[in-house]
Symmetry: C2
């Protein structure tokens, strides 16, 4: 047989590119097949449906990033952890901005359908803040608000980059943003 995984790779790339630039609903299976250089029917040899492709693309990458985020637990102390998290998020963005944009774009629809398990980056971040709070490293009382604010500081720069309101790689900004997170948690 031919190399199935190679075909899947081509589908992945085409899907990420088109989904993140046009949106999922605005991308047809025809567009997808053409961009990947395959026939429409071929896509259905690898995925049960268009929705299945979207879900697989989202959930696998979302869970993989949550896993990487969980490794930050090896770092000691909230301040250093925030540095590590910011560097991880921004490095992840810089390594594959298209993937990052896709995850941001699709989470609205995907999370509404109950993809809210433990392999969720937000859940990992929240757990980290709760742990720091228990250790007396966080002044802010509401952990949910704290989580939302840190998330805002981490994600909005990426969004600004999409709209052209910011330029260049994000990684150099990570220590600045990590500091802002720290001061937000500790007024």
């Amino acid at each position: 047989m031919r190399d199935a995984s190679h075909t899947r790779q081509k589908i992945h790339r085409a899907a990420l590119d088109l989904f993140s630039s046009r949106g999922v609903a605005e991308t047809s299976v025809r567009d997808l097949a053409q961009a990947a250089g395959i026939a429409e029917g071929t896509l259905y040899r690898h995925y049960a449906s268009k929705d299945d492709l979207v879900a697989d693309l989202f959930l696998s990458n979302y869970a993989a990033f949550a896993e990487r985020l969980r490794t930050v637990r090896a770092v000691a102390g909230l301040r250093a952890r925030l540095d590590a998290v910011a560097a991880l998020v921004f490095g992840f963005h810089d390594a594959d901005p298209t993937l990052f944009r896709f995850l941001l774009l699709v989470q609205h629809q995907a999370l509404a359908r109950g993809g809210d398990g433990d392999d969720n980056p937000v859940t990992v971040l929240r757990a980290m803040i709760l742990e720091a709070q228990a250790a007396g490293e966080v002044t802010m009382t509401d952990p949910d608000l704290a989580c939302a604010l840190v998330l805002g500081l981490l994600l909005q720069p990426a969004t600004a980059l999409v709209y052209g309101r910011l330029s260049g790689p994000l990684l150099p900004l990570s220590s600045t943003v990590a500091a802002a997170c720290w001061r937000t948690l500790n007024p």
Copy 2:
């Protein structure tokens, strides 16, 4: 003739509800007409197309909010202005969460099509930060990063509310968030 503005109101409400809960592409004109209690053809007496409805709904509300945001210029000093901005944003959300969610949801597509004029809330915020920077009220050097971070602090709580990661009205949180914005701009 019958009351045309009343029909438009019904269309507006149905459109905001459906668009913000399901998404624009996932809402058909049939759904829209049924929810508004009108016939499909009626919608086209008031809007040239579905896209026209979306654009009108977005641009008018987006510009109106930018206008309200511009009134904050009457407040003196960055610290007080941040308080006013946070209260305005959170109050706007609490008054009509559905509208707020719609604006968040649609801006991705709408702003890509070049709806980036002066009547843009982000432009207003950026101008405010630039002005404060000139007055020596902001330590952070990059105005674009500063703008992105403040935007993140203001918008993410609303997003968290959509996902059920936060509850209750946002307005009571505005002074806390405004303080976080201030500390982010002035390390």
